[in-house]
């Protein structure tokens, strides 16, 4: 059965970016987010969700190199 990997990314008007991953294991979530955000955003906060330790899901918040 195919596993679904999902990432949601919210980009607000002030340049803040919040990202959350679902269905990823181990370091996969951080690797995927780093590939997406490279040079585009500065990481200011990273929170591991409870399921991270079971399934490797991670909630990550990025703040973009601000435009305001």
């Amino acid at each position: 059965m195919m596993a679904e990997k999902k990432i949601t990314i919210d980009i607000d008007e002030n340049g803040e970016i919040h990202a959350e991953t679902f269905g990823m294991h181990g370091t996969e979530c951080t690797e995927q987010l780093d590939k997406l955000m490279k040079d585009l955003a500065t990481l200011v906060d990273r929170k591991k969700k409870p399921e991270y330790y079971k399934q490797g899901s991670e909630k990550t918040s990025y703040v973009k190199n601000g435009h305001d």
Binding site: K5, D12, E13, G15, K35
Partner: protein, 252 residues
């Protein structure tokens, strides 16, 4: 005849004169915009845009000529290049210029407006290739700029430099004997034209600067979407108010 009417042979004479007057117009007569602040906003916006675009442009060949750039994707590394550039609010024209891969000539409305107020701006965030005469010709032919006439440029630059603009007008002055007793309204078509040109520029500039954040947001969304597709994700874009949400899904 009374003594008052004909005193010592003199009679009071009322006469009018149409005289030329100089008028000083200040930026406050035209707009409430703080020009120094707007210039800072434009410079910051251009720097941020260049920084974001550099994420893409650093892997491409970029040539600059007279406030326009030619972006050449020699190896096809950025299939969404045109879409990304447009998302940042840039004017993009696809061109054939003899270079391998896709090429686009790109201009920016904010840069065009900033040039009018502050000709000294130059970005240092993008690394440019040496521009040949041939490429300069291609850029020159395809670049779409907001064009401002020399009169508007002169007026705006005076305001931006902190000076006012002096224009001429006419005014009727009524004298009784040699003493002015009444000043008419100053008429100056030059004043009206100057204010109209300046107003048009600054109101247009307000509209352009008002779009900066939206362009930065859309540009970022576009780069993220492009990267996600390259990583094999299906990308769905949801918009709610001023917020954009990307939902990336991949099945393995």
């Amino acid at each position: 005849m009374s003594e008052d009417d004909d005193y010592d042979g003199w009679q009071e004479v009322e006469w009018t004169e149409l005289r030329n007057v100089e008028l000083r117009i200040t930026v406050g007569d035209v707009t409430s915009v703080d020009i120094a602040e707007v210039i800072r906003t434009c410079r910051t916006a251009l720097s941020q845009k260049a920084e974001k675009l550099n994420v893409i442009l650093k892997n491409l060949n970029v040539y600059e000529y007279r406030d326009a750039i030619l972006v050449n994707d020699e190896y096809g590394t950025c299939p969404d290049l045109e879409e990304i550039l447009k998302a940042f609010g840039l004017r993009v024209t696809a061109v054939e210029c003899g270079l391998k891969g896709k090429s686009y000539v790109v201009t920016d409305e904010i840069l065009d407006a900033l040039r009018v107020m502050d000709p000294s701006y130059r970005t240092t965030r993008i690394q440019f290739e040496k521009c040949t005469d041939e490429i300069a010709g291609v850029i020159s032919d395809a670049a779409k700029h907001d064009l401002y006439d020399s009169e508007t440029i002169g007026i705006v630059r005076s305001f931006a430099g902190g000076d006012g603009v002096t224009v001429t007008g006419t005014q009727t002055v009524t004298y009784l004997d040699d003493e002015p007793i009444e000043y008419g309204k100053i008429e100056s078509s030059e004043r009206e034209k100057t204010i109209s040109l300046a107003y048009e520029f600054f109101s247009g500039l307000e509209r352009k600067t008002g779009r900066i954040n939206a362009h930065m947001q859309e540009g970022t969304v576009s780069i993220l979407s492009s990267r996600a597709r390259k990583l094999g994700y299906y990308v769905q874009t949801k918009r709610r108010g001023g917020k954009v949400q990307l939902v990336l899904v991949r099945n393995e």
